[in-house]
Amino acid sequence: MKAPFSKYLDALTPGLRKLIDLLSAHYDYVSVLSTDSKGLMLRISQHSKSVGNQTMTTERGTVVRVYRGGLYSEYALDSFDPERPEETAEAIRKTLDAQLELLKRTGVKPFETGKLSDEPLEIFVERETEYLPEDCEISGMVEKFSAISDRGMAMSEYMLDCMVNVQSTHVCKLFLTKNRYLRQSYVYSEGAVAAILAKDGQNKFGYKSLSGLCGFELFDDIDSKLKGAVDTALELLDADRIEPGEYEIITSPEVSGLIAHEAFGHGVEMDMFVKGRALGAEYIDKRVGSELCTMHEGALCAENVTSYAFDDEGIPAGDVTEIDRGILRTGICDALAALRLGTVPTGNGKRENFEHKVYTRMTNTIFDSGSDTLEDMIKSVKHGYLLEGMDSGMEDPKHWGIQCIITLGREIKDGAFTGKIVAPVIMTGYVPDLLGNISMASADRLVFGSGGCGKGHKEWVKVADGGPYLKTVARLG
């Protein structure tokens, strides 16, 4: 079935149009983003079970963007009354005028920016889903997930807990200007099975995740993730510390995705170009990776948790080739950064929710596949590691450093696994070296969307990333 667009937002629309008209008498540009996204979350473990309707992206509210005198201002509210748009217009003007008074008192000048264009555009998208989170019957699911948790507990004497966490969000967004009327409705879901083990006072944690642009049907075979989660944690119990050094590595698709995200995901977010915070601005059309390195970014690149039809500034979704056979071609851009840089927006203007500012953000960030087989890649390694599982990462667009915390490494010597596992693994390095040393890429690839991105340390949004198995060289510690 189609995920139905919010009746609440439809009912709001006439009032919001009136609000735009009222504010347009005082401002040169007015846009409105209204959201009504509902969710369902289930967390099952041996020690606690919980259910709720909140996920990372559930929200209901409105943000109004206005422009005057070279300055963009925004006002976020969650109590818009469509029968009384005059009251909201008055509150917005009064508050923003008070802010301008404060700025005058403190001697602050605006960072002059041009006016956004408002070409006519209409989009209405309702994506397919089997289930809506707001209508899900959970009784069978609680039993099913509890049984998975119980089965996990029986898989090892070292088990402390086995968790099944799932959530689904029905996203509905309405974007309006004088000339734009955009509506979208889609459902995405994500989940994980996780195992916590303890042996000799040491705790270890293993998990396997799944995600997709669909409803709770995603979890029909979630029990297939159980063995992998428990096996990972069991392997970590007996893992060694890695001898720090530079190694040949093969990255699993999950780790390839983490590299894509941290390297030339953040490295080419063009709002950072405006601030002079990204080295990428100086490397357009220059080599930053090997011939085997091609990378795409955009909501249209893949169908996963952030595959929307338009972004939070009313820009249609895109598919950007950021790196083409090793050459950095372009970055991704929100609408205001595009104005400031004299380029076009790529559909990557995203907010944590309606209360937050737009920044340039990633959607699906993915390495292209190659033509090698994993077997041949392993055979080609003299001494190195197959890296699996990602825990976290951190970007450094200014200096092109990268930090990836990886769950484990499987040692390879003379083209074969030795059976030795090392964990945890910290992969660090200089991004062009890491990408420049890519010498093999597998023919298959996977996309993962169970994580979030904080653009540093705040402003959390959903992202997905992935790629094939990649062979390169990196410093591990």
């Binding site: 006002y75 509150a91 450093g401 930090q403």
Partner: protein, 430 residues
């Protein structure tokens, strides 16, 4: 819908217990590129979360929660409550009792405003002393005034008003065409102008050194000194392992009355919950479930003394007066910061993202700027990483007598861990 009406609907429902947290937030935000305004924002929102509890026989209880949009109709709120009651009846947990009303001392009333706080922050940032070669790249100011009300079916009705602010600062330093940046994110209550300016100017100074940093050598196992907010991760490990949820799940090796490690040769950790901390954004009289917060010794000289955490897990442990900690402090150690900086060691002042995994005790972080102290010489270094384990370091870690506050925690200004592996990038020991 008004909170009172939601409470009436909950009372009239078949829920056996319930709670509401209603946070009204007025916020002003200002985003700067250099010192020019990129954008100004305001928000006026209300977050209402309800949780309903349903008894399942005599030996189990379930709960389900929902965020209620303030624009929601009464009909839909009623339906949501009915759905939650049904969902709660399906998730079996051990029963526990919600907090009853208890006497507590209210916090001093906050009488500030987002306007005044924002102006103070803008003036503070504009007064930072910059030079031609070290300056502010960009900064963001977030000032919220929050009024949080907690109501539950046991009769609790507590309202607290407090400021909550954030300042994100990116600074640059440049020399001979080479430019670097450093990043800081401050979680604050009201504006502490002098403290903020002092800290940003300190970061500008650090930026100079990053310009001349050389690749970190591979020095193997080494003492490492932490003198920034990275120390919060180290001491957060202790705090997390005192959480009742960790204890109930068997995830902590801490036991009350038993030293955290045998044969401790260094300083022993003393950690206290603190009810009020000047400048903290977390000065609450009660936690989010209505448990009164008080000063309490959690770890005394390396010996855990008390558990903390949510009502659910502390009740499971039979604790009736436990609470979720807001502010906390770690006492200073036996030596001065200067004494801890003696000998050969690496002091890291900028990480990409330093982390201590509270569950496994693993330590890791990429070095963006450190100072390598070798035989009386000090060399700024960059790159590579530190790794290790809290289990290996608890027996010998040192804390300075001097302490420093970051957000809602006061910790030793300098912390020295003796067993940390430093993976360099220069390929060989120097």
């Amino acid at each position: 819908m008004k909170t009172e009406r939601i409470a009436e609907l909950l009372r009239a429902s078949s829920a056996d217990a319930w709670e509401i947290i209603d946070s009204r937030i007025k916020g002003w935000e200002f985003y700067f590129i250099r010192h020019e305004l990129d954008q100004n924002r305001a928000k006026d929102v209300e977050h209402v979360t309800i949780r309903v509890y349903k008894n399942i026989g005599e030996e189990a209880m379930g709960s389900a929660s929902a965020r209620i949009a303030v624009s929601e109709t009464e009909e839909n709120v009623k339906k949501t409550i009915d759905d939650l009651v049904y969902q709660a009846s399906l998730v079996r947990n051990k029963p526990y009792r919600l907090n009853p009303p208890r006497d507590f001392e209210p916090m001093p009333e906050y009488s500030g405003s987002v306007e005044a706080e924002a102006e103070a922050f803008i003036n503070a940032m504009n007064s930072v002393r910059e030079t031609e070669t070290e300056d502010i790249n960009s900064f963001e100011i977030f000032t919220d005034s929050v009024e949080r009300r907690l109501i539950n079916s046991e009769g609790i009705d507590i309202t607290e008003k407090y400021p909550s602010s954030k300042v994100e600062v990116v600074v640059n330093a440049r020399k001979d065409g080479h430019e670097i940046e450093l990043y800081r994110l401050y979680d604050l209550g009201s504006c502490d102008r002098d403290g903020l300016v002092r800290d940003v100017e300190e970061v500008l100074q650090i930026g100079k050194d990053k310009l001349i940093a050389v690749p970190t050598p591979a020095i193997g196992t080494s003492p490492v000194v932490f003198s920034t907010d990275a120390a919060l991760e180290i001491y957060g490990y202790f705090l997390d392992n005192l959480n009742a949820a960790y204890a109930v799940r068997g995830m902590t090796s801490f036991e009350l009355g038993k030293p955290m490690a045998e044969d401790i040769r260094g300083d022993k950790v003393t950690l206290n919950a603190v009810r009020y901390m000047e400048g903290s954004p977390s000065n609450f009289a009660c936690d989010a479930e209505g448990s009164p917060i008080r000063d309490l010794c959690m770890i005394d000289a390396g010996v855990p003394k008390a558990w903390c955490g949510s009502r659910m897990f502390t009740q499971y442990m039979g604790l009736d007066d436990a609470f979720d900690i807001s502010n906390w402090e770690v006492s200073g150690g036996s030596r001065s910061a200067a004494e801890l900086r003696k000998g050969n060691f690496l002091e890291v002042v900028e990480f990409s993202d330093f982390q201590v995994d509270s569950m496994t005790g693993d330590i890791f972080g990429e070095i963006r700027l450190g100072y390598l102290h070798r035989d009386g010489n000090v060399i700024p270094v960059s790159g590579g990483s530190v790794s290790g384990s809290m289990r290996d370091n608890i027996p010998e870690m040192y804390m300075s007598k001097e302490t420093r506050r970051y957000s809602s925690a006061r910790v030793p200004a300098v912390t020295r861990l003796e067993k940390v592996t430093v993976s360099g990038i220069s390929g060989e020991d120097q």
